[in-house]
């Protein structure tokens, strides 16, 4: 179980959070102008990298606020926490490579 540093409440156990999937997938401004393929890519397709993943979490059993996290899918280490709407910070190279 991860120990997630909520930017508002401090480090809390993963059971207090809900997962929000991959971050930085903006809802298309004009859905009608998208092809079926483009729209279904937005709805369904997600990356599954070995290494750093940028993802969303919400402190569902705490402050109920959403934030972004950068996490390594090999070590599960949380490398950074940053607010919704911001770009990810510079991240170090994974140490297992």
């Amino acid at each position: 179980m991860l120990l997630i540093p909520c930017p508002h409440c401090g480090p809390r156990a993963e059971i207090e959070f809900s997962y929000g999937g991959e971050a930085h997938i903006a809802r298309p401004e004009e859905p009608d102008e998208l092809t079926d393929q483009e729209w279904s890519d937005y709805v369904f397709m997600r990356r599954n990298p070995k290494g750093v993943v940028l993802e969303r979490w919400v402190h569902a059993h705490g402050c109920r606020r959403w934030f972004n996290a950068a996490r390594d899918t090999v070590t599960y280490e949380i490398l950074a926490i940053y607010p919704m709407g911001q770009n990810p910070p510079e991240l170090p190279e994974p140490r297992y490579l």
Binding site: M1, R27, P31, V58, W66, Y96
Partner: protein, 1005 residues
Amino acid sequence: MPQSFRLPEGGLIDRARSLRFTFDGRSFDGHPGDTLASALLANGVHLVARSFKYHRPRGIFSAGAEEPNALVQLGEDPRTDPNQRATQVELFDGLSAKAQHCWPSLEVDFNQVTSLASRLIPSGFYYKTFMWPSWKYFEGPIRRAAGLGKAPRLPDPDRYDKCFAHCDVLVVGGGPAGLAAALAAGRTGARVILVEQDNRLGGSLLSAPETQIEGAPSADWVREAEAELATLPEVKVLKRTTCFAYYDHNLLGLLEKVTDHYAPYDRPAELPRQRMWRVRAGHVILATGAIERPLVFRDNDRPGIMLASAASSYLNRWAVKPGSRAVVFTNNEGGYRAALDLKSRGVDLAAVIDLQLAAEGPLSRRARDEGIPIKTGYAVTGTSGHLRLKKVFVAPLDGAGKRVFGGGEPIEADLLVSSGGWNPTVHLFCQSKGTLEWDDSLACFRPDASMQRNQAVVGAANGTFGLSSVLVEAHAAALAAADAAGFSTGGEASTAPTSVEERDFLPMREIYLVPSIKPLGQGGKHFVDQQHDVTAADLLLAMREGYRSIEHVKRYTTTGMATDQGKTSNVAAIGIVAEHLGKTVPEVGVTTFRPPYTAVTFGAFAGRDVDDFLDPERTTPMHAWHRAHGAAFEDVGQWKRAWYYPQAGEDMAAAVNREVKAARDSVGILDASTLGKIEIRGPDAGVFLDRIYTNVFSTLKVGRARYGLMLKEDGMVFDDGVTTRLAEDRYLMTTTTGGAANVMSWLEEWLQTEWPDLKVYLTSVTEQWATMTISGPNARALLAELTELDLSTDSFPHMSMAEGEVAGVKARIFRISFTGELSYEINVPSRYGLAVWQALIRVGQKYAITPYGTEAMHVLRAEKGFIIVGQETDGSVTPLDLGMNWIVSKKKDFLGRRSLSRPDMLKADRKQLVGLLTEDGREVLPEGAQLVESNHDIRPPIPMVGHVTSSYWSPNCGQSIALALVKGGRDRMGERLYAALPDRTISCTVTEPLFFDKTGERLHG
């Protein structure tokens, strides 16, 4: 009965006290300090089990957590535990244990005939032979024949606790490495937890009394260490506690056996039986030791065959002779340790059989000096003896170690101990995703790279076997951990001199499959995984059949998949596969380590979250009234909802029929408090709702209500409900009972992540309001008696809201209907709910007001064809499938809209909502029934065209009604379909999904 194999002196047992216990109905005595295994061996009992597949007699193989064979059923129902390792069960007075998996008795097991036929049951035999559809007929008898212990049938009467802890340094393992680490870290003032699965600290030192540390017996060092730890206020020592799991971010699971070792009459009632700990540790030091590897030779599974280190433990720690005449079989110096121990404690040592071409270590030299007969370059080629080892056959080995010469010379022996080197206990390290490397000089897998931060592996677990090095390494790791945790050390590196040579265990001759006089698989078996009865021949068969990956070989043969998870067998299996494929061991690699290290009782996971504490229960303000009036309750999420109110002599059907009739004939009343309610406020509330719902809410007039559907972005219906505009900037949304929390989260997610520019605030008000719905032709007359409000349709039309007093309480009244009748939904602050409900019931007597439950509500709405999200929908149903295009706006975007025009959504054969009427109106279709197009000439595969989603007896229609999702259903009106049931076929006709009051007149009362 005398303990005839108990040595006259020595051992960590309390000889002053005797403990009486039974095994398979026979009584024996042991002493405090014994395990069940040591006490059985003290009484000369080796045969304790029958094997899993072949029912072969099996004995006690080890002295610890790695035990594959000596699994027993402990206690009697309901306090009974299956598959308990006798080697870890602490003896108590009155303990009763049974051999499991044998019939009629351990000595005479009829199922052993399978052993004669065993060449007919190779790996994969079950899968290949008993294939579907016949597998289901064979499964029962096979599972009965190949089982382990029995789970208790009765509810567990014991109490279990769960607790959480944090510490700076968690040390797993209380052997020399763990003790040194705990002391070093504890002395800095860091918060330390030391975990030891045994009831004593000391680990390997408990079985090696001659070992010296700093010039004194190691037992003194252990005693002093334990005494000092007790004086350190920030140090907690947990004995009888197994660290069974290493989860992410240094969260570790511990199982503490609190009272299992007490005699039943002595168990302190105030203590739980077991305690589950979840420890979040700043730093983790794994000092989990190593497990000896057995050698794999022909018929290596007889009672009387055990690990060399186990023999030393029984002799030294428990003062038990595990046999009278012994053979030691080894490929390394470690076997000589057991040889010396056996000889010094008076066991007749027939020979040491050493695979090595020459034995040149300090222990073998000592053995030779003491006159122990040693045969180097020899192998054990087989054994004999049915219920106990009688003879060991040995023969010289060729230079390559691939074959033996001669027929095998017999040696009489009732004990054969083997040592094939050591495996660092890397289970926890690997669970935490650490990687292993193969150490050629040690011939074992040892920790390579950590994936968790703040983690160290020390001592034998790290492949550091010399005691002096162990102490130095553990000390240094602990100081580093404490330092990193912010505790200044000032301590110095430990250089405690010990009497143990660094290279005691080296070198070794790696032969994973010891050859015999006959080809593999012919006459006798080379067991690799004794608990699952997997042999070397099975592994070779798997490779002949094309399996190459060790993960596949494991699954095909089930090696390493028994309750011991292959603690003594995995590396041997990998070694044999490697030898066969001509690869190196590291090229074959290891299988995945998963929790738990040893089995954990379900009770410990559940803790106190059982029965009424399993899940919170939510009740409405009127709950006591429902209870007092005999309601049966239904669980909806965590809510207890009144299901129906049976009167004297009524069954469920009669009660529901009466309630359904009453709501149409006069007036019924429903407790609807559980519906989710969310207040949505702010200048952008209307815009926000337009994006959330398929239809438009920004144009809704204040005081008016509208039904809405919510979709996920994939276009599937997610929730529905009525939303009312309370003021220009204020809406009240209602949701389904079960969906309330999800809808709230959904709304918050979009506001916070995608539309933070919208000025909208959300408040869940579900529990602030008590909601009661009165429904039926007399609803208006009833309400008029309790309020001053003008209830005429002109001033209070359908789909509108009014505020006023009801029974003297300020209320919000919504004129909305889920029954098709004239209905009012009266909302009052929760604390007035019961009073207003009672007032309505009292005044309603003259209209024969009838409380109705959720079942009647379902029938009433189904008569009108109203959907229930989660019943008519299942996450794969769009508004178009439901025939609800009328609610899907074409003028604006909303969540999920673009998905509705994807080609898959427009296919003509999508399942669409329809009604069904059975040919025989008295017949009620079962919900979930699959629908087919034909009732004759049926041959598989039969195309399923749909399924029944809702089905009831409708007293108002005088026949059964059903809703269903049917492929292309809207084009099938009047078509005949069949519900294929196991015992009969029901024919029915497709209709529109509306059965009662098709013009909707009754809404107006």
